[in-house]
């Protein structure tokens, strides 16, 4: 087990390194000069000395690989640069906003996994029944209806017609709505995955043995199918994590929630490239952390994969 943790950790670190190089490369292609942006943002005098001083300070006069390595060294040691817009260290800006974004994204994902099990189980219990048709409809609908539009419609229905929530207030009701919207998409997809794996179990000989022993369909499915289906559900969560991040970003903008994506949107008109780099790194770490924990859980559930 320790060996796996080390191996997955190493692989995640290598991926993160590669993502950082790619991100730095993309950002380096930015058509506008960060020095001129900073001078404008901070109202500095536009002359040779200021420009050269800033260039030397940020190491922009050095070749690309050297710049990358020094940025990476700073980043790893916790110096994420300063935001042009707010003048605050980027690390502080992110650490104050990350809990909200993580809460919405991961909370939605966790809620979806919890809701997908009963829905998928009921659907598998009676293929073609109400629960089955409902879960299928849900999966098809969430693929076509963008969460941010659904959120907008809900603002209108819940906020204006029924006066149940106060939209744009960043209160608990709005955060709960955002978590629910993230969860809705993943519930639809995960319930179908869980149900499909359960149905596949019913073709197995051990399932028929269980029925022959006198178990009801419900008992047999739960005792002999559930574990394998949970395994399938967990591996599907990896691709859902990407969706959850994108949806969280759009919902933060819609509801005006102060998370990392809203900070990115506010910073981008100032071409705040330290913020952009930090954002990619944070999202990549988030994805890699979800991947790693899912993989470790899968290993625990199925030790045969060790061999």
């Amino acid at each position: 087990m320790t060996g796996h943790i080390v191996r997955i950790g190493l692989r995640s670190a290598v991926s993160l390194l590669a993502v950082s190089a790619l991100a730095f490369l993309v950002v380096a292609f930015m058509p506008s000069d960060p020095v001129m942006i900073a001078i404008r943002a901070w109202n500095l005098p536009v002359d040779e000395t200021t420009i050269n001083a800033l260039r030397t300070e940020w190491g922009l006069d050095r070749p690309f690989p050297a710049r990358y390595l020094s940025w990476l060294a700073d980043f790893v040691t916790g110096d994420w640069g300063r935001s042009f817009r707010t003048g605050e260290p980027v690390l502080n800006e992110f650490s104050s906003r990350l809990p909200l974004s993580l809460g919405i994204g991961l909370g939605g994902l966790a809620l979806a996994a919890l809701a997908a099990v009963p829905l998928g189980f009921t659907a598998a219990l009676k293929p073609g029944g109400i629960a089955d048709r409902f879960s299928r409809l849900l999966a098809i609908t969430v693929q076509a209806v963008p969460a941010f539009w659904l959120g907008l419609v809900l603002i209108w229905v819940l906020g204006v017609k029924l006066q149940l929530i106060s939209p744009f207030s960043a209160g608990v009701d709005v955060i709960a709505l955002a978590i629910g919207l993230v969860a809705l998409h993943s519930t639809g997809m995960l319930a179908r995955v869980y149900r499909r794996d359960l149905i596949e179990q019913t073709a197995q000989p051990y399932y028929r043995t269980a029925l022959a022993k006198g178990l009801t369909r419900r008992q047999a499915l739960w005792r002999h199918g559930h574990r394998s289906a949970i395994y399938a559900l967990l591996s599907a969560m990896r691709s859902e994590a990407g969706w959850a991040i994108g949806t969280t970003a759009a919902l933060e903008v819609l509801f005006g929630l102060p998370g990392i994506s809203q900070f990115l949107v506010q910073s981008i008109s100032a071409r705040d490239y330290f913020v952009l780099l930090a954002y990619i790194m944070v999202v990549a770490s988030w994805m890699l952390a979800v991947n790693a924990s899912v993989e470790l859980t899968l290993r625990r559930l199925d030790p045969r994969a060790d061999r």
Binding site: V26, I140, P146, F148, I245, A250, V253, M287
Partner: protein
């Protein structure tokens, strides 16, 4: 099967016609006509600046269609080329290509596209290229595994034994067997491209908010959700209709079993 493609081509024609001709200039501001109700002159009414909503919807549909087309083309050609070439070359070159493809999966497509759009500005061209390139990873992995399956077939060994060169092997024996499957997969992602572009335009990094896109219209009109809800209903309905239609046409039956 036939009716799906009939509906799809009808939708395509509708979008094309909407891109070529609109009843009004979509950017023409007329402050005397703010929030006009639907009429023969303005079938969907006007927005807070008196712009004709129907015209804006039409040009936005055209912009969305060009993004979907660019995303599909880049994913199809880039992904199948990279994946197939990697499988035929094999060895460390294949490993590097596959690891690079996985990189694009570590950071979600939408976030890569968000980054690129933040730097280069949002237009159908940049969004199409960004979403397309960011989405190449999964296509490359798929075409790579499909190619490996074909490479194990006896007719490939026969062709290799006859001394067929790798490029010819690829065009003559491998691609005809893998391309149809990759095409279906690309098609099944087309609906997702509509939603992704709408999300990009909605988040609107560095975008000019007056440009008509379904996503940016939703962002602009969200403030009027209280008094003029129809303004944000129409663009949303357009996104849902186009996405649902594309998903249905390219439906992979195994996805809903």
């Amino acid at each position: 099967m036939k009716i799906r493609f009939l509906l799809c081509s009808m939708m395509g024609l509708l979008v094309l016609a909407g891109g070529l001709w609109q009843p009004h200039d979509p950017d023409a501001i007329d402050l005397t006509l703010r929030h006009a109700s639907p009429s023969l002159e303005h079938p969907l009414g006007t927005d807070h600046l008196g712009r004709d909503l129907a015209s804006r919807m039409m040009i936005a549909g055209w912009r969305t269609a060009s993004v979907v087309f660019a995303v599909g083309a880049i994913g199809f050609f880039g992904g199948s080329l990279a994946g197939t070439a990697a499988a035929i070359m094999g060895g460390w070159r294949e490993q590097i290509t596959l690891r690079a493809a996985e990189l694009f999966i570590v950071v979600p497509t939408l976030i890569w596209a968000l980054t690129a759009v933040a730097i280069f500005g949002l237009s159908p061209v940049t969004a199409g290229i960004a979403l397309g390139l960011a989405g190449v990873g999964p296509y490359a992995l798929l075409s790579n595994s499909l190619t490996h399956r074909v490479l194990g077939q006896p007719f490939v060994s026969a062709a290799r034994g006859l001394g067929v060169s790798p490029p010819r092997l690829m065009t003559r024996h491998v691609l005809p067997n893998t391309l149809p499957l990759i095409f279906v997969y690309v098609g099944s992602q087309a609906g997702q491209a509509v939603v992704s572009y709408a999300a990009l335009a909605f988040i609107g990094l560095g975008a000019d908010p007056s440009r008509p896109d379904w996503g940016s219209m939703l962002y602009e009109y969200r403030l009027f959700a209280f008094d003029q809800p129809m303004l944000m209903i129409w663009p949303g309905l357009a996104i849902v209709t186009l996405t649902a239609l594309l998903n249905w046409v390219f439906d992979r039956p195994e996805a809903h079993k």
